[in-house]
Symmetry: C2
Subunit: 418 residues, 2 copies
């Protein structure tokens, strides 16, 4: 069988399975997920052994320490993955939920009911935990899922999929409910992305390069974000200590993630008071500062920021700082250089807070809180399948509900249209 | 300026305008729409004169009577268009609506707020009323809109856009809020569909050929339906008179539209009683019947239905009929041959009704009502911008709310992530 044929067979099976998955009871889905969690722990030593094959190859290929770390499965990490699956099983089932219902003058009762999207393809890199996390969320929402992990984690991913599929079989789930593309040939991804007759949604998870390649090649709708250039605007009436506290958290707590702050905008009236304080804390934490001319007048240690710095997603202990005249200039900056991911305002001014919330069109907008809260779990969605910075279907962190859509249901008693 | 440059200029202006449109007050938007409605009526004779230029060309080109009819503007049709705009202005404003809000254990208040999609491109054929209808819905939802009508209606569309833009200027709306591509060159459509940096959504309205061409060429997300192969399943416990009544309405009232019935599925137990009755009424109304072998045993006048008939969207007084063993066979038929548009069951059996509603995954599923209700206005959305049979973002008839998305808003008081 050619790669193309193999992928098409997989996709057809998934589409057939989706019909059955859509009407599974919540009880069965939740039991399957709990059993999958148990089996992963049970099979922990097998998973670790398979993972070691990937790790060995990674060392041979000279992968970076950070990459190797992301790739590594330990028994404690497997327990975390299992706990994640149990949490997903405990979430309310979105399928069948009536989101609203109303009566028409002619007596028709019209409602909207949540249904699964159908078949979801997940294309991801290195982290083998995505295999279980993504599968759990897709299954919970009644979808069939096709997984395509990176070649660097192929032994780990195949082993994990094998364990999960064994449980699925035990519960008589259709064979196409959960599948993994077993070949590491890049051509398989291309073939997968052409199958818009079978697959309803593609979610790529990984670096910007992977995501751009998927978007370029896909005939299937893709939900994604390229990058997170997150801003904090410290307004003139900010509580200075709170502002320092939040900025430190947003920049330093985990600089390598998409919801970390990359650019700090400071109202010119508070800059002389606030900037020296925040600079001291940031520099003590090892953050390199880059600033506009006004910033550098106040913080001489800051390097000069160039136009590229305003667009930069450093994912590192580097911060661009700009002093702005007012909220308009702050919002203009965000609109021009931002990535529609996450922005926060720090202010004690009620009207300014509301204005920022309304005018900034990014997918998550916060008042007096760290950008690091832009995350499905932290916002209360129960889990996260990814973050979208395009507005169609889902915008911002996506939970299990975003893996469903709604259909119209209509109860009549003989109505016809006149 | 080349066509490409012209279209890019238009799109850039639209994106800038979208920023301003997103924060317009409901009051201003509603006044603009009402004034637009007034001006269309006021300028009725000008619009009719320009429309006559299109009609003359249409006659020269030998367009069909149906096409010419769709193209024609009369003073009474203009009044209908104006009334439509007034109705849109009276709808509740979706922008800024909080769809839900909750409190996190750490005290963060998290909510979802509706915001406009941004820039919407509408690509349509012949009917000049789409110019005003689509513009009204896009503006109401706070979007900027780029219109691209067919060359056959170019004089009518340009005249109508001119009138609408004059009102927009009077109310200081940004110039890019409402624009029309003025060239009739097909290349302009292609160029428009490449501009995913500026345009958020494309909605094509017209025949299947137009829509397939748009989907093929577009880098921008497209919401569309190709066709409506709508089914009615008459269950064994149906009220026979109600079933005849609904089938007549669904097939005969307006056979040329996408929510008309194309295939009738009949439970074998009710077929001997129901089929002769419905056949008589349908044939009296001039409907040509095609049937499976079992159908033809009961209705000898029916032609033999072929495999292609089950896929057919006749848009005409033709109906395919199939006798099925049970609800499973009916749902299997719908899954295999259907278009995810609209399906109805006629039954007095409570459990059967619920089963059909749950298991059928089409965008509108009805019990004891005509498929003709699958329409934004009839379902209570206030108006309709189109119908989607793909599940992402919107599924089924789309109203003004589907021209928006939601962002997360977060009220904190100094929270950081630990």
């Amino acid at each position: 069988m050619s790669i193309k044929e193999e992928v098409i067979t997989l996709a057809k099976k998934a589409k057939e399975a989706a019909q059955i998955m859509a009407t599974l009871s919540s009880k069965v889905k939740d039991e399957v997920l709990k059993e999958m969690a148990r089996e992963l722990v049970e099979e922990g030593s097998y998973l670790v052994r398979e993972n070691e094959k990937d790790l060995e190859r990674a060392k041979e290929m000279g992968l970076s320490k950070a990459m190797v770390d992301r790739l590594t499965l330990t028994s404690s990490r497997i327990k975390d993955i299992a706990r994640g699956m149990e949490e997903v099983s405990a979430l309310p089932d979105p399928v069948g939920r009536i989101t609203s219902m109303w009566r028409r003058p002619n007596g028709l009762i019209v409602g909207r009911m949540r249904i699964p999207l159908g078949v979801i393809g997940i294309i991801y890199e290195s982290r083998p935990n995505v295999t279980a996390d993504a599968a759990a969320l897709c299954l919970k929402a009644g979808n069939a899922v096709i997984l395509r992990g990176g070649s660097e984690a192929i032994f780990s991913n195949l082993a994990m999929t094998e364990v999960l599929r064994r449980v699925a079989r035990k519960y008589d789930l259709p064979d196409g409910a959960l599948q993994m593309v077993s070949t590491t040939d890049r051509a398989a991804v291309y073939e997968l992305l052409q199958l818009d007759d079978y697959i309803d949604l593609i979610i790529p998870r990984g670096g910007e390069e992977l995501i751009r390649a998927v978007v370029r090649e896909s005939k299937i709708p893709v939900i994604k974000h390229y990058k997170g250039v997150c801003h904090i605007f410290v307004d003139e009436n900010a509580d200075c200590d709170m502002a320092v506290h939040i900025c430190m958290n947003a920049k330093v707590q985990r600089p390598g993630v998409c919801n970390a702050m990359e650019t700090l905008l400071v109202h010119e009236k508070i800059a002389p008071l606030f900037l020296p304080k925040v600079a001291r804390s940031l520099e003590e934490a090892g953050v390199k500062l880059k600033g506009c001319p006004l910033t550098r007048q106040i913080i001489p240690s800051a390097e000069e920021a160039t136009e590229e710095d305003w667009y930069a997603e450093y994912l590192d202990l580097i911060l661009a700082i700009r002093v702005v005249k007012d909220i308009n200039e702050a919002i203009d900056h965000i609109t021009r250089y931002g990535s529609n991911h996450t922005e926060a305002i720090i202010t004690q001014d009620y009207r300014r807070a509301q204005e920022f919330l309304h005018r900034v069109q990014s997918s998550t907008v916060l008042v007096n809180a760290s950008t690091r809260f832009s995350d499905g779990y932290e916002l209360g969605l129960g889990a996260e399948i990814g973050i979208s910075t395009t507005k169609l279907h889902a915008y911002g962190p996506m939970g299990v509900e975003e893996l469903t859509t709604t259909k119209f249901i209509v109860y009549g008693d003989g109505q016809i249209r006149t």
